[in-house]
Symmetry: C2
DNA sequence: CAAATCTAAAATGTATACATTATACGTTGG
DNA sequence: CCAACGTATAATGTATACATTTTAGATTTG
């Protein structure tokens, strides 16, 4: 509900109404809120309960800087650790994404895009890295979804992805790092206008 | 209690006895367990409750690989973002640590060591990075504490720290990255024997 | 004797009740 | 008329009670 924007940033999360809406009692809901707080999606203030974490433009930029470093690491590791089959699966995801791009199917494009980035993280075979990446990506979901406006930007993103996959298939770590780095640099440019 | 080894890895955490020991009821304890689960210190299995997360040697190595990349990023950012005062404070921590080293005061040495690494992360002024780093460091606390055996290894660690601080004061990002990288490479060697 | 099954105890998952704290609104005093 | 105070309402924080599931031990059976 936070990611999909149903719960607005900064707004308080009242337990009572939300319990009723979800059909559970306060106990499991509160346990879930604590979990989300640790993930950084929810902010807890003593004696005032939970509110939807509000991200400033700097917060977003910081997250993108971090996720860029994480994906660069994942890319380097992937070139060493990943099996050919795993790389082939990423290629397949990429091809699916291209189809969605041509169909201008934004939602499925977006979802597949996310899956590709998660998949690259997974290729590292580094469980901590995978988890941290997933946590960051979930926080960025909302922003990134809004950020994909404009046809030429979209085309650029697709092209960047193509270089990423090529580099990965060639197990060319420097090229992959470059491609990922450039891609996430542009990601910031794509969302900058939205969040500022 | 997990970090200090009072709760052994792999062992189940029974809510009843722990509640009694802490003097709270099950509700707040369970909320805390959910929080720790998201942090990765605790593992939750449906219908079987919480158990202390057990880290394999690979888990530890993965975390060190990741924290190394994080500190490298933090170092690069620190050279740009940190103020002279902030850097001076890290230098002060380092000098304190040297005193503890000469006194062979392992506990305070260890604590100050941790604070230095957190401080370097903080110099990045990147909130996400700071948080992820802190979370990882807390998971590594136990292992790192055990890992500091042997005089010559200890001396090497101190020397590495010295280069780190020097590079930081000179705002020499490549040198700092090198020093951090080497330091964390050795950190793995220091703990490798313990965890395997 | 071993394996399977049944039963009792205990653990987790959830709901509800109570205590405390914050909040909003109406009242009173300057 | 505005500000301060007090009260009522509603929120959070915690404890307890109940339902369900797991687990361990004893009993039974092949």
């Amino acid at each position: 509900m936070i990611i999909e924007g149903e719960l607005e940033p900064g707004k308080r999360i009242y337990e009572g109404p939300l319990c009723e809406r979800l059909g559970v009692s306060r106990t499991p809901l509160r346990e879930a809120l604590r979990y989300l707080a640790s993930e950084g999606l929810v902010e807890l203030t003593p004696q005032r309960g939970a509110s939807v974490r509000r991200f400033s433009a700097k917060d977003i930029q910081d997250m993108l800087v971090l996720i860029r470093a994480l994906e660069e690491l994942a890319g380097r590791l992937a070139c060493i650790e990943a099996s050919d089959e795993e790389i082939a699966e990423v290629r397949k995801l990429h091809d699916d994404m291209l189809d969605y791009y041509r169909e201008e199917n934004r939602l499925d494009y977006y979802k597949t895009n996310q899956r590709i980035h998660s998949a690259i993280a997974a290729l590292s075979h580094n469980e901590s890295l995978i988890q941290v990446h997933a946590s960051l990506q979930s926080k960025l979901k909302r922003v990134r979804f809004i950020g994909h406006e404009g046809r030429e930007k979209w085309a650029a993103a697709v092209a960047e992805h193509e270089s990423m996959i090529k580099a990965l298939e060639g197990r060319n770590a420097p090229a992959l790092v470059n491609a990922l780095s450039e891609h996430l640099e542009h990601a910031w440019e794509r969302v900058r206008d939205v969040v500022s």
